[in-house]
């Protein structure tokens, strides 16, 4: 019955190892990123984007709500966009996006690098990449 495994519920598939946990993390983090981006876009509209920003600027802010992304707009006061609240929102989005993205790179690499040693090296690189991107990202967000 080829169809049987396709129709198992999430619980029925079992979340027993790192790979299956990351499988569900990838799906849920995608949903979280849609929520973050929608939240940032609504926030921008509340803070004056409707009359002072074009669609591209709003999307640029939505993809990463950092104040430097609205500095070239017609906004008279970018103060609300630089509040600690938006830095926290941006930090949350950064953490989720880095986790989702770097794990995606590992999944792609695993399809082409099949030796255990090679995969081990990829995992070490991925951990270094996650930590350095989180550090650099948080530094930029909280100093800009």
């Amino acid at each position: 019955m080829a169809n049987k495994s396709k129709n198992l519920s999430i619980v029925g598939r079992g979340l027993t190892n790192f790979e299956s946990i990351m499988w569900i993390f990838t799906r849920l983090s995608a949903l979280a990123m849609y929520a973050f981006i929608l939240f940032a876009i609504i926030g921008a509209l509340v803070m004056g984007a409707r009359t002072n920003m074009n669609m591209a600027d709003v999307l640029r802010w939505g993809f990463m709500p950092n104040v430097t992304h609205v500095q070239s707009t017609a906004l008279e006061d970018t103060g609300p966009f630089a509040s600690p609240f938006w830095k926290l929102v941006a930090s949350g989005l950064l953490l989720i996006a880095v986790g989702h993205g770097v794990h995606g790179l590992v999944v792609i690499a695993d399809d082409y690098i099949t030796s255990e040693r090679g995969r081990g090296i990829v995992r070490i690189f991925s951990i270094i990449m996650i930590l350095s991107m989180i550090f650099i990202g948080l530094y930029i967000l909280w100093t800009s």
Partner: protein, 127 residues
């Protein structure tokens, strides 16, 4: 113990997987494109913040209209295809309808992307 495969790259490229294979490949290209962009953009912004030369030049590449056409494809396609994957995986009873879901996906993606490309290119060429 590594996996043993008897499929060459040439054979792989000739694989005719149809619509689902196309979106699988485009999802990977989009994800890789965004990962490379975000990594370099973060490094460039870090360099600019620290007063290191070269950061502003790297970020100026991303303001070019040709690059924006590429990266918007990556982001929009990855987001819409990712939403399809998430919906089908979280509600597996829908998986038999994945080809129909892919047609809906293209119907959503193409008009949005076409309008965006028109606006980006028009602005890029000074119109």
């Amino acid at each position: 113990m590594g996996l043993k495969r008897n499929v060459s790259l040439g054979t792989g490229l000739k694989y005719q997987g149809g619509g689902p294979m196309l979106v699988f490949v485009l999802h990977r290209i989009g994800g890789l494109g965004m990962a490379i962009f975000v990594t370099i953009h973060l490094l460039a912004s870090f360099m600019s913040a620290r007063g290191i030369e070269g950061g502003a030049f790297l970020n100026s590449i991303y303001e070019n209209w040709a690059f924006q056409v590429f990266i918007f494809f990556c982001a929009l396609f990855h987001a819409i295809n990712g939403l399809r994957i998430t919906i089908l995986d979280l509600w597996p009873r829908l998986i038999p309808y994945q080809r129909e879901a892919i047609w809906i996906e293209w119907a959503v993606f193409l008009p949005i992307y076409a309008i965006a490309v028109f606006i980006i290119v028009r602005a890029g060429l000074g119109g």
